[in-house]
Symmetry: C2
Subunit: 363 residues, 2 copies
């Protein structure tokens, strides 16, 4: 790839620098609008050198990676339009693609390839950079009819070098899917919280809010500014997505108002199958078995439980803790691969005095 310019040395840019350098690529030149982020990248050896301005960073570069926050990428393209060498390939890591690709192609023509690595989050900064961040992760690329195959190949090679798996998607399809899979669920989680807390006092809310509500609304605790920037960069697709969700909410309401219970059950069963299918792990060693146990809320308990699992060779596929709102104790839900392993582990834990039962905390 020869000389690589990384514009924006936060979590993603810094991690890319680390991964590329440890793969023997580069030299990597970094620039960040925040000088301390750039210095941090140099200190952590995420870049070979830092440049005083964006134009200096892209000088003689063969590949330019735009790793600024998504709402700044289009502007960054315009700033760099005349500075990027004529042969250089340009890509970005923004979480929405239509507008970025339009700006990228306007500035760099067939040498621009939009990208979106499905790893990490730009808010953590250079301190959180990790050369293995992209290992095994998907990396969406959004070539268009204009994109040169050389540029696409160069970006694909870079993605593979950092351990990620490239997947090509149309930019508009990417944004519509991101709206459905990320942006609309994010807003919906906040809407469910807003709706719930508008009724009832805290004690009643706490009494009735179970593990299900906790899961569904977990992401409502995310950073508001970050999400405004993401939604703003994908406003049209998010608006369409909210409309699509609204249609389903209206349909459900009609189904319930008319008492069509068979239809409701069939619909829930289809959604269930789709959810299980989507996250089905192809390498499950046997059927996933859910175990739930009461645990005292003190250090060491998780270690005891997971050590037993490790000794038995039982792979814990997933695990979560639901604390009693009273404090002092909680419930631990484990998903173990395979009935036999689950039964061995259950027996072992019961032998240690735990109360273990099969099945989840909520159904």
């Amino acid at each position: 790839l020869a000389r690589v310019a990384v514009i924006g040395t936060g979590l993603i840019g810094g991690s890319l620098g680390l991964a590329l350098r440890s793969a023997g690529e580069g030299p990597v030149v970094g620039y960040d609008v925040d000088p301390s982020a750039a210095r941090g990248a140099l200190d952590r050896s995420a870049v070979d050198t830092i440049a005083p301005d964006p134009a200096a960073a892209v000088e003689n570069a063969g590949l330019v990676i735009l790793a600024a926050p998504v709402h700044l990428i289009s502007d960054t393209c315009r700033v760099l339009a005349s500075a990027v060498p004529e042969e250089a390939v340009v890509t970005d890591v923004g979480s929405t693609k239509r507008d970025v690709v339009a700006a990228g192609e306007a500035c760099f023509g067939d040498r621009f390839v939009g990208g979106h690595p499905m790893a990490g989050s730009e808010r953590h900064g250079i301190e959180a950079a990790d050369g293995e961040l992209f290992d095994g992760a998907w990396w969406i690329l959004t070539p268009t009819a204009k994109t040169s195959s050389e540029a696409y190949a160069a970006v694909t090679r870079m993605v593979a070098k950092v351990g990620a798996k490239p997947v090509a998607l149309d930019a508009e399809d990417h944004d519509a899917l991101a709206a459905r899979l990320s942006h609309v669920p994010q807003l919906t989680a906040s809407a469910l919280v807003d709706f719930a807390v508008s009724a009832g006092d805290r004690e009643a809310l706490l009494g009735l809010a179970g593990a299900g509500f906790r899961d569904v609304t977990r992401i409502a605790a995310s950073h508001p500014d970050l999400w405004v920037a993401i939604i703003r960069s994908n406003a049209a697709a998010v608006s369409d997505g909210l409309e699509g969700l609204r249609e389903r909410i209206d349909g459900l309401r009609e189904t319930i108002d008319k008492g069509r219970w068979k239809e409701l059950g069939d619909w829930l069963a289809r959604a269930r199958a789709a959810r299980l299918d989507l996250f089905a792990k192809p390498h499950f060693v046997g059927e996933p078995v859910t175990l739930t146990m009461l645990i005292p809320d003190r250090p060491g308990v998780l270690a005891e439980v997971t050590t037993q699992a490790g000794e038995l060779g039982a792979n814990i596929e997933d695990l979560r803790i639901v604390h009693s709102t009273e404090g002092g104790r909680g419930r631990l839900e484990l998903i173990v691969a395979g009935t036999e392993a689950a039964e061995l582990l259950t027996a072992r834990l019961i032998g240690l005095g735990y109360h273990v039962y099969r099945g989840g905390i909520d159904s």
Copy 2:
């Protein structure tokens, strides 16, 4: 409480029997429409005796607990109306309350007290019964203006005996809150799955579906029949709840279409604060700190990590695993109480060769 009749010896009825008997209450007489469930309760010593029919079970009872599935409780009231002794107090454990309380009061007058323990799930059966199931859990009671104070006191005493904490709520308020906190979120999770999978192929969906989507839609994998019964028993409140959610979705869409980004940010910040407040643990030892690390997907890793935490006295407040869709490795997210403990643990884990960074998997 003298003689207690438990009608329905599944998870909840069986657990109640175990808890009451170990608190020295009873004798406990059980009945279940499924004879093998009743025999199971006897085998597990959840009841002292089993009765051949509901009327025989309630003979000479001082307290009758209706622990049938929620859609059968009103009918059970009618079946038992003339059989329950005149002095006996009757309560139920159904997850929705308005219709049940109406049926209960029609059959038993001021001696009926509606109840809803916030623990477990009725689908697991007697095998999953656990005498500690209610320990520390909230137990909603829904007295009305009619309810006798003696009946209410008797049910409150029973709730305290099994280790739960009684909270009184109006039956309609209960159902409206349950719709907002449980039934509408449940349907919304399914709607989000249904909407997402209607677009895009599996590879694209998988590429873009992150930990956030996984959390939000986890409960969409729940049992459809169980949920049809719950929603059916609370249809009016669920329909109102869907309408309330729809209004928020429409409002969000308008905010986005008009580009009111400041307003969106403020709204997201309020929802974030409400979510954090709702599940704030009063006994947190210091600020919760989130750590994320890459882990190989093999037995023993969790044990190693949690053992280190236990040795350092670092209390793991929450923990989840996000598997790579590729298999073979995953990310582990830990929430540790207190900055100092988090830093000690981070240093220890880095010393063991793990890549640990501060912050969550998704933001």
